[in-house]
């Protein structure tokens, strides 16, 4: 699969509280941004994959909502849903479709409209008795507390991730939360689910992102600086890990396995990765993910951030976009938005947040209670 699929255009909406914008309008913004970037029209799209997680009051119930928004009829459109790995999995499915030879040009689009739901954005999911009382912060906090207990780290270590990602996000015009924060502010914020305070959590966000992919041998017809798909991986583990007596809560096996698949396909090792867009729904999640992705040994992800190695100027910049923490996390859109960031960085269009001379970028989502993970590796042609 390596180097068989090229990204020839990407698009992304402004992420944030898009109260005045509909789900369909978000889809249009991202798609036409990507069309323009690739220099194509919707007529060129042969198939599409919509990544969207929550069938909401304003759309997303099936792939049909993508077709209707873009008037993209009479072509195969598939909805992909895989917890927070929805966006990257939609991209992966698009790649498989191209590589199979079925289509030459495919649209991958992730969209979510969480703010239309009111309240906290996410509905309660799961078994009415066995999952009663769980929340997204609560589930990740279970693992964070065990991890912090085992490796003897405090909340200060988590706060450093928030400070870094807000710093990056403040330099990103499309990010949801564009302000820097201090460690003190992070530590003194109201608690959401111990050990996570408000600034340890990503916001609920509206947004959409898109990528146009094609057969690699056709890519230079569209642009010279296209980006190649080097590898990808996806793995699932239990959707109820909290009942699993064999789970140590110190990291996510789904990420470890998905990363191994992707590295193997790309023929690289973690040290070859120039920068990564890593799933940081909570500050601790980024710490454990940098370990599970192989950027440092288990237990040292906090130090990696604390030593500045994951900052824009560090040796392995993590979340130059600002991450979910600052850019926002419209679930199905996030993975495609990470692809967008990787492509822009590889093309040297990162602006104020551009990392130095990147060769390989990695996008990673982990979803559910660590239950599913998807890794995409992109690089220069």
């Amino acid at each position: 699969m390596k180097d068989q699929v090229a990204v020839i255009g990407v698009g992304c909406t402004k992420f944030g509280d898009r109260f005045e914008t509909s789900y369909e309008e978000l889809i249009c913004e991202a798609a036409f941004d990507a069309y323009a970037d690739a220099g194509i029209t919707s007529e060129d799209i042969q198939a599409a994959y919509l990544g969207t997680y929550l069938p909401g009051p304003s759309g997303g119930k099936a792939a049909v909502s993508l077709g209707d928004a873009l008037r993209l009829y009479d072509r195969p459109i598939t909805r992909v849903e895989n917890y927070c790995a929805t966006g990257t999995d939609a991209f992966r499915n698009g790649c498989l479709a191209i590589a199979s030879g079925a289509y030459d040009i495919v649209l991958v689009l992730g969209a979510e409209k969480l703010k239309d739901r009111g309240g906290r954005g996410l509905p309660r999911l799961g078994h009415p008795l066995l999952a009663k009382g769980n929340s997204a912060p609560g589930l990740f906090a279970l693992a964070a507390n065990r991890y912090m207990h085992t490796f003897k780290i405090g909340r200060e270590m988590l706060a450093k991730v928030a400070v870094k990602n807000h710093y990056n996000g403040a330099r990103n015009p499309k990010a949801h939360l564009r302000m820097e924060v201090t460690e003190e502010k992070v530590l003194n914020a109201p608690i959401i689910a111990w050990p996570f305070g408000l600034f340890d959590c990503c916001p609920t966000t509206d947004g959409a992102a898109a990528a146009i992919i094609c057969r690699a041998d056709l890519a230079k017809r569209f642009r010279s600086d296209y980006v190649l798909v080097k590898g990808f991986g996806l793995a699932v583990t239990s959707g109820r890990p909290y009942f699993d007596p064999t789970f140590d809560y110190l990291g996510f096996r789904s990420t470890q396995m998905a990363a191994q698949q992707a590295y193997k396909m790309a023929g690289i090792s973690p040290k070859d990765v120039s920068f990564a867009e890593v799933h940081d729904c909570f500050t601790w999640t980024e710490i454990t993910n940098t370990e599970d992705l192989g950027f440092c040994p288990k237990g040292q992800g906090g130090a990696l951030a604390a030593e500045g190695r994951t900052s824009l100027s560090g040796d392995i910049p993590i979340n130059p976009s600002g991450g979910l923490k600052s850019f926002g996390h419209p679930i199905g859109a996030s993975g495609v938005r990470m692809i967008y960031e990787c492509v822009k960085q590889l093309q040297g269009q990162g602006g104020e947040r551009q990392v130095k001379n990147p060769q390989l970028g990695l996008a990673h989502n982990v979803g559910g209670p660590g239950a599913v993970s998807c890794v995409i590796i992109l690089g220069h042609n």
Partner: protein, 467 residues
């Protein structure tokens, strides 16, 4: 010999200071406190507490009847005993019945159990009496009603107190009542009811009992009686020729509030906690008449003392922060409390897992897991797993304290608990203080009201600090 083979007292951990009530209504300061069921407790869950204590897992299979008594059952139509029996993992063949309608119902259940065992119709009857009665805000009895449960087992082997005799009086007398459309208990106040209802009826029953057995009050070690208020029991004891200070056991009303159907059985439990072989105990229950029961303690008692003694049940307590919390927890305030749908089909399908608390055990690799599975989580083989009863003690493996999640009480601790004997469960934590929630802390499982979903009450297990 037919008599009591096990007994336990259960008092919810929360206490409402009577001064908080006084402050809310601008009435004079009042001493003491009442026990208040937590937001996830009701008569059903409290009955389960005493049921599990009296008939632990190792003995549950022997129990062939469960009688539940309450005037404040969570259902108007639907048996509660069947739920308690299931949570206690009693055999399906066990007879279940609910006793209700009067604060005498706890004693009614006890007498029915005694009669059933005496007649040879049943061998081992579990009695679970529990009340969480509501008084109207600002009413005279608001600071008087407490919530609690008492459990007993009746049998003919290993009897710790033999039932010698009983006497009953039946009389239509309206003292405490609640019509079928009222939420709060009504009481006709003070001296009239205590004199012409309580003292006259219960006095008559106790006198009849003593006369039939040719016993004098001074021969009785303990007079364990229901008392509608702190004074009435003392007056009755004196009137009957007992020495209240030495003989009267009527502890609920003065420590946790008048505990309804559980009250006389709690008095009995308190009496048994301190009794010695050969002691005579008279138990008295009141309500539309009265029942009196005569017991004689055997030398079996030291081996069968309560797991939850009365003293321990009373002393293990946490203060309720405010009167408003009491109003919220007991649904005096009509708050919107959305729950997820538990359909009758889901409940039916998962009864063994969710209520009897069975998981699976892999015969190949010995891994115990929850929920019930067909494929082992460790060795991934199908066809090797069998149903496995989980133990109800364990240790917190990890946790969080969630301030965001929608729940009646905030914040809500959630814990992953490794159970003794295997199996890992993910549960809400209840009855906690901050220092009781953390990695490595021991917890017990407790059956609680989780939510109201699908139009009825949904019960499930929670973790609570070991008491």
């Amino acid at each position: 010999m037919v008599g009591i083979t096990a007994y336990n007292a259960y008092v919810p951990r929360l206490r409402l200071d009577r001064n908080l009530i006084a402050r809310a209504w601008g009435t004079p300061q009042a001493a003491g406190e009442i026990a208040v069921a937590n937001y996830d407790e009701d008569a059903l869950t409290m009955a389960t507490e005493v049921g599990l204590a009296c008939a632990p897992d190792s003995e549950a299979a022997a129990v062939d009847a469960l009688y539940f008594a309450s005037t404040s059952a969570p259902y108007r139509e639907k048996q509660v005993a069947s739920v308690v029996a299931t949570a206690c993992d009693l055999p399906r063949r066990a007879q279940t019945a609910d006793f209700t309608g009067s604060v005498r119902a706890g004693m009614s259940a006890l007498l029915a159990g005694v009669h059933a065992v005496r007649a040879g119709a049943r061998n081992d009857v579990l009695i679970a009496a529990a009340d969480a009665r509501l008084a109207a805000p600002e009413s005279e009895i608001e600071g008087l009603l407490g919530h609690a449960a008492a459990g007993l087992r009746i049998g003919s082997t290993a009897v710790l107190a033999e039932v010698i005799d009983a006497a009953s009086v039946s009389e239509e007398f309206t003292h405490l009542w609640r019509t079928d459309d009222q939420k709060f208990v009504q009481a006709f106040p003070g001296k009239f009811s205590n004199t012409y209802g309580y003292a006259r009826n219960l006095g008559e029953a106790i006198r009849a009992l003593l006369a039939a057995q040719k016993l004098k009050p001074e021969s009785i070690a303990r007079l364990a009686v229901y008392s509608p208020d702190a004074r009435a029991g003392i007056d009755l004891a004196k009137d009957l020729g007992f020495d209240p200070r030495r003989q009267l056991v009527s502890p609920a009303v003065s420590t946790i509030g008048s505990a309804g159907v559980a009250d006389p059985l709690l008095a009995l439990a308190a009496a048994l906690d301190e009794a010695t072989a050969g002691d005579w105990i008279v138990v008295g229950a009141y309500g539309e008449g009265a029942d009196a029961l005569l017991l004689r303690v055997t030398d079996e008692l030291p081996r069968r003392r309560a797991l939850y003694s009365w003293k321990r049940a009373v002393e293990n307590k946490l203060p309720l922060a405010s009167y408003e919390k009491y109003l919220k927890f007991r649904r005096v305030l009509d708050l919107d409390e959305p729950g997820d749908a538990v359909t009758n089909v889901l409940e039916f399908k998962e009864l063994k897992q969710d209520i009897r608390l069975y998981g699976s055990r892999c015969d190949a690799c010995d891994t115990v897991q929850f929920p019930i599975t067909r494929v082992c989580i460790k060795c991934k083989q199908s066809g090797h797993v069998s149903d496995h009863k989980l133990r109800k003690q364990g240790t917190i493996f990890t946790f969080t304290v969630d301030h965001l999640v929608a729940n009646l009480e905030h914040p809500l601790p959630m814990a992953v608990v490794d159970l003794d004997g295997g199996g890992r469960v993910y549960l809400q934590v209840t009855d906690f203080t901050e220092k009781e929630v953390g990695i490595g802390l021991p917890v017990m499982l407790t059956f609680r009201r989780l939510q109201d979903g699908g139009g009825n009450h949904n019960y499930f297990w929670k973790a609570r600090p070991v008491r």
